[in-house]
Symmetry: C2
Subunit: 117 residues, 2 copies
């Protein structure tokens, strides 16, 4: 399969502000893990939450303030980010560009739980 990233359908993420997800390689397409791209529009954010699964990420565009397990980072294009399973994390865009990142997760049961900030 070869397919341009901009041709995948965008779904709005209800828990986030101006946050969209594209499933690039799904749990049906591949046996072990899934590839998604998230886009958070300028001014958008994702609230503090936990997942049951880890995230392997690469920032593709823009900048954001990210808190992972109580530590704050400013992340930008070309940053590699690993978020262990269960670590509370959030995202808040910085500047006028959309913040876009690749986020891969194992094909395992996940559950998103919001956490008080």
């Amino acid at each position: 399969m070869v397919k341009n990233i901009d041709t995948f359908k965008k779904e709005k993420i209800a828990a986030g502000k101006d946050t969209f997800m594209q499933v690039l390689i799904s749990a049906d397409d591949a046996p072990n893990f899934a590839m998604r791209r998230f886009t958070i529009e300028p001014g958008g954010s994702m609230p503090m939450h936990t997942n049951l699964v880890e995230h392997e990420q690469l920032v593709l565009n823009g900048r954001a303030k990210v808190i992972i397990g109580g530590k704050e980072f400013e992340v930008k294009k070309d940053d590699v980010v690993f978020i262990p399973a269960g670590a509370p994390h959030n995202y808040k865009t910085i500047g006028n560009e959309a913040f876009q990142f690749l986020c891969l997760v194992p094909n395992k049961e996940d559950k998103i739980e919001l956490v008080e900030e």
Copy 2:
């Protein structure tokens, strides 16, 4: 973990011509799958081969002619590529830019076998 992609060590891939790999998130760092970036310099290539594991890829820079399971594609920045386990595949750069792609694999035993082209 937050770390710029250009700070990871580059290893030369013996089977390829002018091909380098950076392990961004290793099988030791993460429980289920590993994230690597490959760089094939202009004029470089990887010969036809098979792996025991699937590849989930995103092209980050440049262009290449890629054959996957007997089908030929021209791939470029922002193309999502899925290569099933066992499918013969190769890469040959096109143009003057380095061809760079993210390539994720499960934390499972792999074996590379070269295939007659």
